[in-house]
Amino acid sequence: MKMHFKEGIHEKNIIVRCGADRILPFALTFGLYIIIYGTVSPGGGFQGGVTVASAILFLYLAYGYDKTTLTVNPEVLRINEAIGASIYVILGLSGILTGMNFCRNWLFDNGAVGDVISAGTVTFMGYTVGYKVLTGVGFLLILMLGLLGPDSSDRKPVKPQKIDPAPAPVVPGKDAKLLSEIKAEKSADTNAEPAADNAQSLEGKEA
């Protein structure tokens, strides 16, 4: 089985770029429409959020990974996702603050049926979920696209990766040694990498 995740996108193709440029605004608008009109028409936060997040894919197809991440900062997306989730929880807690239970729709009586914000917290929860999902799925897409190789314009020769072959399966013979013992002996060497050194270097990386 061959896997091609070492190869990135070919970004030279002008047709793809023009197409993406044209489709991107429509995709964004459509996604936002689905989020905003979630309470009166088919759709809702999740569906619209995913549609908006697909903009990341268009960006990637047209401009490659590096430009995508420079346009849309993944770190901001990650933090905004947690903020969206917090807002959702706070919307739920607002029910308690108004003297009702958690998740209480205390705003429901504002407007006629069919208005966009008629449904009270349902609407706002939908928007919050949409916000959370568009940031979250966008971040997930960037995370996954990062696994693909460097873009075609500045691709360097890929070094052959080091393969650590798994130990061959051992058939239990006639001797008294159990399979687990053999395994333990084998894994003993690999187990013993010093955690302290590791920790030091990783500390540096984090900061």
Partner: protein, 119 residues
Amino acid sequence: MTIFNYIACILLIVLGLYAVCTQKNLLKTIIGLSIIDYGVNLLIVSTGFNDGGSVPIYQMSDLLNGVSAQFFVDPVPQALTLTSIVIGACVNAMSLAIVVMIKKKYGSINVDDVRRLRG
């Protein structure tokens, strides 16, 4: 008609289990998990099906004209399915991430090679 729906759900679930149980390729294992998920989703949606019902949304044009004699299907299973679909997507995301890293580390995604922990 829905009896075929139900039977298809069970078939999908069993098919997914079969894929998970027999396929040596980890990607196919994940595909099997997805198939199980689709089977379950189909089961939940079929649960709320009612022959002749419309989507459980008040359509403004109908309400203003006040004519159509329509009724809704069950909205609850649809809501449950939404949740279940998101969960299925999350399973896919995480398991694919793990498989990608396994491929990097072990150089293979065959289950016969990915068995350092055993015994």
